[in-house]
Symmetry: D2
Subunit: 480 residues, 4 copies
């Protein structure tokens, strides 16, 4: 509706990374404490934040554009206190207009009572679903695909929420980690491939669901396990019960998003049994094996590539040190300066550490190259600070395909790897050499001996489902 242009292939940009949390309080975690969990998930979305809380009879909610800390003023936070259960959400930053209507949780009243949902992921067949629902009289009031869940749950609800979630899942193509709140129950569901993460924690007799285990840490809860791909859990006064999305309990090959380990997740999270930092360190070691280079210093681009750099250093024996320092105080309020000063603005966030790099051959580890412009600036900066050589090493394969399953990637045209060879990219960045970690090595590093399966779509087009077939045309006019 808002600024929606039917001529533009908006699906590529529609996808968003988000974070969800849910709490069922049996006396050990105040619903208001989800505030801490959302802070811990803030890296998954900075556009808006929200919580919905039930006292057992009715659902109260609050959501707004902004960071968790600014959305929840003291007065608002106090309204979220003392509930029986609740869910929360942070949403990825996009440039929007009146986007607070798209903030989650989405809350609705339907024939069966009240309902709130929070969703991380992307639906592919929104057009078709939306068309069908509208033909049945549904009206859409937001511009987020997550609203479809509300309609489908309401539609299938006469058989109960678990059954509605099951039925709904048969209709839906795409990725989702979902938390659902009714007046007296908390539900969690993860798509059949387990593309987006969702884990379960416990503190005393109380339960927590969250996108990443760091949210459990923030609540002082213990990580129990991850919600399995295709699993639905229902949490209520009687405890937790688990269901399969499929009536026949069949399971599909797992397709956990590999990029979560590479870049998205917090380094102190444990996802599907694999600790993220460990995965990154191992990727760095693999990288040192497959792409060695003679050098004096191994450094990582702060903050996400530091672990891989440590791994590279350990494996290669080249000393680890800092080459770039991040300015912790440059935030959102930074004014874009006029053209003549733009060159300076680049130095605002990162500064080269002259004392460490001067006269040295530096291996600079980054986790990925998307457009290539940042890499060029970093190489320039290090050379400007006196580095004799700069060898770029990327701890993942080239990002060649857009993500359709939950991450906001640029269109294919803007992905430098989809149209340039490694040597071309090297030349553009000005690096003395450039190597990527091959996909097999990355998978081995992350998997760490387990049998976990991944969605590798952005690297090799190997999505767990047929994207083209799933995406449906038309009727997308509830999207911006």
């Amino acid at each position: 509706m808002i600024q929606y242009d039917t001529d533009m292939p908006l699906q590529e940009h529609f996808s968003e990374e988000c974070g969800v949390v849910g709490v069922y309080n049996n006396g050990d975690i105040d619903t208001m404490a989800m505030y801490f969990a959302l802070h811990a998930l803030q890296h998954r979305g900075q556009e808006s934040a929200g919580m919905a809380v039930t006292d057992g009879k009715k659902i109260t909610y609050c959501k707004h554009t902004g960071l968790v800390g600014s959305v929840f003023t003291e007065a608002r936070l106090n309204r979220m206190k003392g509930g029986k259960a609740g869910i929360g959400h942070v949403r990825y930053s996009t440039e929007g207009f009146n986007t607070s209507v798209n903030a989650q949780p989405l809350v609705a009243s339907y024939a069966g009572g009240e309902l709130a949902i929070a969703h991380n992921g992307t639906l592919l067949n929104t057009g078709k679903l939306c068309r069908q629902l509208k033909e049945n009289g549904a009206i859409f009031q937001t511009q987020t695909d997550s609203e479809i869940f509300l309609h489908l749950i309401a539609h299938y609800s006469p058989k109960g929420i678990v059954e509605a979630l099951r039925k709904m899942t048969e209709d839906i193509k795409g990725s989702y980690a979902l938390v659902v709140l009714t007046k007296d129950r908390l539900y969690g569901a993860r798509d059949p491939f387990g593309i987006r993460p969702l884990c379960l924690g416990k503190k005393g007799d109380s339960y927590v669901l969250a996108s990443e285990s760091v949210a459990l840490d923030a609540l002082g809860a213990k990580l129990v396990r991850d919600i399995a791909p295709g699993e639905i859990v229902e949490i209520g006064p009687q405890g937790i019960e688990s269901f399969s999305i499929f009536e026949d309990n069949r399971t599909l090959p797992a397709g956990m998003c590999l990029f979560e380990y590479v870049y998205l997740a917090r380094t102190d999270s444990i996802i599907d049994g694999i600790d993220v930092m460990g995965a990154r360190v191992r990727a760095g070691k693999e990288l040192a094996r497959v792409a060695p280079v003679e050098a004096d210093l191994v450094a990582g681009v702060p903050d996400s590539a530091l672990s891989a750099a440590m791994g590279y250093s350990v494996q290669s024996g080249i000393p680890y040190g800092d080459a770039l320092i991040k300015n912790r105080y440059v935030g959102r309020s930074f004014i874009q300066p006029e053209q003549s000063l733009r060159e300076l603005a680049v130095r605002m966030k990162l500064n080269a550490l002259k004392a460490n790099v001067e006269g040295k051959r530096v291996v600079l580890i980054d986790d990925s190259i998307v457009r290539g412009t940042t890499s060029k600036r970093l190489v320039d900066m290090l050379k400007g600070a006196g580095a004799k050589e700069v060898h770029l090493r990327i701890s993942s394969p080239p990002v060649t395909y857009p993500c359709y399953l939950g991450i906001d990637t640029p269109s294919k045209r803007q992905l430098i790897s989809s149209s340039h060879t490694v040597e071309e990219i090297r030349r553009m960045t000005g690096a003395d050499s450039l190597c990527y970690l091959p996909l097999d090595n990355l998978i081995r590093a992350v998997r760490n001996g387990t049998e976990l399966g991944f969605c590798t779509g952005c690297f090799d087009g190997g999505y767990p489902m047929d994207i083209k077939a799933c995406r449906s045309k038309g009727c997308r006019n509830f999207h911006k």
Copy 2:
């Protein structure tokens, strides 16, 4: 949902006074100019403001809590520019939580395309309608009864918007002045009794719909006529077309809200052919006739009772003058002081004009007494300033019944006139005498020789419909 308490008869407080505007631009009024119209209607609602605009293909909107001037920053206002048609809304101030979700226009995407509505009025049978709609799978995402319009229009839309508005009207009990926007049309509708006002203006070839004619003035448009009770208008490239809500074109006795003339409307508005200031002056004259008193000065409570005071002065021959001065700068940001200073806070908004009242017998005209507390303070203030006598004259009858049809009145218990005699009220206020204008006289004064019929519910219980029969129980849980 939010703070909704099923045990409380919320209907009394649910009602709200609002203002609506719609523009169809054939080259003479930029849709952005609705900003001025909303400023002109700001007295009808200060909680939130919003606009939705179509460029012929898609609807863009912006709405938020706050005054028109603070909601529409320059950037937001510019997004409303250059449209083909648009609607706007201001909403009455209530204490709410996360109320921006209830701001209007409400915008939805449905099987027939996109739709935006703005509504002034109150629905009575929301419970029943809501239940039926939910049984058909509808989900409600706001806490305003206006959302029902969206669902009903979508439901009946296969036969076209005009037909949908007609059908919908058969289902709905209550009052409404409604503007509806589709991607290429503007619609207006007024309930069969014409309880809430809606007028039509023209500027060149462009059309305006608005709650009050002052909004037309603000746009430089001429008042053409009022939308008739039970009339639907459709405005498009071909011009304006008029339909009756009823297929048989039958009309009901008019029931225009009498209180609009007494207090609500701006004094420079013309509603249903009657200029508001004239009506107030004539009411003041009637009051002088039925409730004369020997005195030295006639004064009105600023601002709404000044016209009636002028009328009283002209009729009685007692000189008109100011007895109370309003501080123009005391706004919303006023801090409620601690108990010891509260006495002073009263003087902040109004100050007695000692030079005018000292030693004088004052006739103080007010338009109505709701709770009686303000009247007592005013009498105290005048006596404190040296007035020898204070004679309260009210230019309308006692407000004895709540309004169920669009105005936010206190519950019956809190209306002083529903439980106290005039003499009791006089004693409580400390006035030397107190008289109200009888209903017949008020009607005669407002009507001014025309045949206009009124809703006099708040004065004598004479609502144009059977309120009890219309109100339905249950299923109200989409309301706060």
Copy 3:
């Protein structure tokens, strides 16, 4: 310093209208209650507000740009509570940059202790004084001439504050109503001509000083008397003591600003014994006598000219009524629209009352014409609403000279009366006739039988002092 351009004759714009208040609490008025007094004086200055309070030992203060209601958040207001004495200030709105440094009270620590001052008025010989002070080592840290008071008081303080105020006065040329706070005393002083107003009130045993009596009303204090021209008062635990600025107790002819009665002061104020509304009504009557016209309606430009219009109506016998209605909700946040919509913006603040003016000959009373552009718009608006004739009557003489003594008037060039005849102005405004009230008549109307003398500088150049001789060149670089 800031944006100060030495080539521009800034003195004309430097002058500012302000409001001051002072409280000495002997148990009857909490210093925090000055908040109410400042609200009552808000019309005298909307740029910044501030208070300084002493607890008997030290001075605490708070000041900021913004309206009283926004500067004093609850937390800040609470810091002003429970003091022994205090002063407050509101400052006129100008477009400034970093102007909070110029907000008053000005607070300083000097050899004798702590000192706070608040000033309404303008100094003429700032250049000379500033040069002398700097030669003695003084540094200036604000861009307001009021800072000179701080330096002079500190300089002369060894002999006590009263003596310092006396000595200081001998140095100073210009207008001032001044309140001064030390750790245990409150002082008030008014310039020898009494150009700017200052009155004294009492509540129980506590004292109040204020620019206008409405501030006393707001505190529930009684007006005792006005501070006399050239009087200094010292208020302390022992009560109030009065001194003359001159050692020989000589008095100069009074020169109270006539424009305070015409426009500046609140209509419910009593200044130097004359109630402002009465003065305005009498000016209206005089105007009807000297400039009669045959017409059907007398109306005033809201709000300041309404009283004069009433006077004109009473005297002429032509009925009084409203022709223009002010929109109470258009405030500071109003966005200046683009050129194409600017015509509409004019209607935002005032709207013509068609029902009252259509087909009528209207006498429109205004209090003054400064640039003439507003008058033209009003005449246009009334004619557009159907007025047959519009006769402009101004309840004061043409403003022909700038004010150098406390009011922010445009430069002489921009004052339409300084370069155009009455007939030329009439033609420009489009009025059918235009008459001003001659100065003698205005003085008679205001004076009301008393012997009060006035500064009539802006009307006839008759300032109470030789402006040219008093103004000094150079060394103005502490001004913006």
Copy 4:
């Protein structure tokens, strides 16, 4: 003045860490670009920010409470553009009231023209100086000791600014890195011991002065050298000229603040020829030498202790890794939760990395222990995450004395090391062992073979001057 309590020894809290910058533009650095330099110095002060700029004729300035990014809106920043020279300042965060009056630069107009200063450091003999100045008629309008500079420079200015700075220095006891702006010159001065840092950079023909070299990096300027202890530089159209504070050019033993290297400065700064990161790495190595321990992991407390941890790891051979992860999104807006949730709030900023620490013996490196409470929480967190042992190693000696020379340390009573033995502190923190780096080792590590001398006051009371003798009583009432 504000909340000033004469009974409290305010000096301990008065001290503040700040950052300064100055630019003289000969065509290579727009004065507006100081915005970037202030961002780079933001870690030195988050309470307020400001800039003053001269266009060669007059000084324009802007300052306010808040972070650099929020103080300088686009409009304000544009006012700082295109100047000939300018200075900027960031100020340390303290809880204040109306503190914007204390923001720097301080700007004044005096007999010699206009003057702006920005100061990092603390004056000791403010009482005496202030008393003398007041006796000469000076008035103080802020609550910062830096105002004394303004008065002294004005006082001595007839002989020129350089001479005034010289003379002033003879009066002043304390630490200062000072930048001074006149309408056409930029000056820098550093106290005779060089306690606070100040360096000189160049870009093309333009000059920069800054507290740390990272500010030069941010402007794309090259570090030329540090301003020497007791040096004054004057920068103008003719270039740069250097003077000694002492007429006899004598030099005192250098007393550069050792704590800048330990904690305060940014890790990528080079101060007095020593790169901060290098100093920290070497301190870590020394620590490994003097306080070895058998362990499985060396980790640092982010961010300031990471370099020392790397040094410890290299020296000890124990693998380096992360044990604690910082949440980058927890900012100032964090709401202090109620007591029951406070335990959780601790986890907001730091989270233990279970995967890395579980079952391990961890050496946790921190740069200092002030109160001890944070250390206890970190040890708890690591043990909670499964660490078998936690050995605290501090890369500096115990902080036993307050700083009187520019850093805001708690009073002696609150410094845990001033009243507890190392073993007592170990027990309180729950660590398995605790060792500090002895002062000699720290000095050797920082000095790195140079002859640089340090102020080691906070560690051993070895201040470069006799603090007691220098501090003067009385007349402190210009301080809050």
